[in-house]
Amino acid sequence: MVKAKRGSGGVSVPDNKELSGRMPTEDAGIPAELTLFLSQHTGAPSKPLVNVGDDVKRGQKIAEAQGAVSACLHAPTSGKVKAIEPRYQPVLGREVDAIVLTPDGENTLYEGIAPVGDDLEAISQEKIREVVREAGLVGLGGAAFPTAVKLTPPPGKTIDTYLLNGVECEPYLTADQKLMEESAAGVVFGFRALMKGAGVKKGIICIEDNKPDAIKAMEEAAKPYPELEIAVLSHRYPRGGEKQLIEVVLGREVPPPPGLPLDVGVIVSNVGTAYALAMALKTGLPLVERIVSVTGEGVARPVNLRALIGTPVSYLIEKAGGFSSTPGKVVLGGPMMGVSVRDTDVSIVKGTSGVLVLPAEAVKTEPVLPCIRCGRCVEACPMRLLPVWMAAYAENGYMDDAEKMRVMDCCECGACSYVCPSRRPLTQSIRLAKAHIAAKRRAAAKK
């Protein structure tokens, strides 16, 4: 077992995982309409391969990756392309082109779908990389970074360790937990495939100690493989952040942006990503569904649902028994980093790990008081930045000073806002500065 280090900053957050963590995962079924955004993540949008009116089948590629940071898109079920039009993408916060699909309810499998094999010895590294690319795999932890990009490090970089992220440090969410409990063998198979694809010899499966059943299942599944180790981390937010995980498990620090984990010889992937690869190899089915925690005090029957990519949020909430009381906030993702949405008509994307419904009485806005410089945000910051000054600079328009304090290194984990006794929106102010500086840099690059 790998001994975890203390790490920097962080906050203790309530768990609330018992809400959705007790029930077995259920199938969400097929909704009346699916919205598949051509931009599932930051990076280049994919290019549609189908036209309005076309019939598509489950697993058929409907959009091709374009550019370096991009991923393919596949039809989650059989049906007809109803429209290709701009729709509101909740995570990016703007309208992007989307393929709208009307399922026919038959769920007919595409003819081209065939298993690659379940013997890793017999599958070449090139084949694994190709499958990752063709299956449209992205990081399922939230950021949805295309996995193919991670597996092909630039020449000259040696990767010695692959970390499998099953930390799931966000409160409420149990999608990864249930996946590890219920499909440990598939996750381990997918992880070994990822390691082979990247050519990495050592793998560490990282899980927080608040998921004993998942730890037990993964230990069991990983036992036959000496190249795999388990790291059990104590529960502290945001341990599951990529940079934090590398610091806590390996004691290494990723260089500041544009530095990447591969600069310190590490790749990190989410357990969901590993499982999706296992599915792609064993059944040939690309990434068309994922587990989503539909949870929070605001839903009647919190549960984990295996949902098709593009399923409307309203459909998922219905499957979880509907609202239990007047909803105050609906969040895609967890309560610390998730995105709140204006209505439930929006659809989930590949990176949506949860739909969190907070009841109206739980989201009362509190007055913002002056900063008392208690330093809690400084101690909470996992990047060891100084949110107190960065936010103050940002609020007063001193963006250059905020930049000098390394505001661009902020990972927006929300720990500073969480602990602030004056209820100051520190993370929000810092985001403002980041957006401002990013725009300034883009303008400078154009000149």
Binding site: S8, V11, V13, P171, K243, E253, V254, P255, P256, G259, T326, P327, K329, V330, V331, P335, M336, M337, G338, S340, V341, R342, T344, D345, L358, A360, V363, T365, E366, L369, P370, C371, I372, R373, C374, G375, R376, V378, P382, M383, R384, L386, V388, W389, E403, K404, R406, D409, E412, G414, S417, Y418, C420, P421, S422, R423, P425, T427, Q428, R431
Partner: protein
Amino acid sequence: MADKLLITSSPHIRAAKTVRSIMLDVVIALVPASVAAVVFFGVKAFGVLAASTISAVLAEYLYEKAVKRPVTVGDLSAVVTGLLLGLTLPPAVPLYVPVVGSAFAIVVAKQVFGGLGTNFVNPALAGRAFVLAAWPLHVTSAWLNPLTMDAATGATPLHAFKGGQAAGSLVDLLIGNRLGSLGETSAIAILLGGAYLLMRGVIDYRIPVAYLGTLGLGVFIFGKPGALFQGDPLRGILLGGAMLGAFFMATDYVTSPVTPKGRTYMGIGAGLITLLIRYWGDYPEGVTYAILLMNLATPLIDKFVVPRYYGYAHDVAARRKANRAGGELS
């Protein structure tokens, strides 16, 4: 229904601690010291504490009404300021001293500079410095004998200690059976309050530990006139206002550094200045001015003591240089 969903930037949950709950914790932590003061010095102690607290709250209320700012007495910070100031005063002091001191602390040291969060010195200590200058005799000689509560003449244990004489039994010092200001006599009561604050995560242990550690070490080295390394560090810490200052004054958020390392420096600095005033100055006690001076140094500490950001080089000199130039650090 759906159109009433609230949209905000993440995070969507918040920790339970608020400014008010923190201030309430400080008030609770001051209860043992206040009770000890009333037990040893009777109704006069109660009068001083009540006068300083009520005056502080009233001053905040009236000032904010007068300048048409939102009234903030509900955050309880004025209660803390008033109570702390009262605890630094002798028991037999005329009541106008705490009243004027608290009003000065709130209006001049705090509100004029923008209220809670923007004051640059600890209001309670600024109030004490003001009354010390205005009525030096009252503030430094209105002692009462503990328990008998008759007027005391003669020097406090701290005076005696400074002169190198015996300064009372350790037991008396610990429980507070001695001459002194209301809140500084009973070390046990202050430790009780300090332990509560540490347990509740309200204060950082670094400031009191660094402060009292530096002071104790200094007293051990220089405490005995004419001889080195023969001082009595325990009495050096227990006498005077060092305990109250270390746990309740120097730890004031607004006027102490925001980084853990900066707080250590703050404690060491306050310890050194206290030592300097006590042994090389004419004043018997240096806690007030030591902390006030470190309050003034706090912005400087915060400017220079910055953490090594995640992913940046360990080389401190290179980092400082890059910081000054605003350049890249990696």
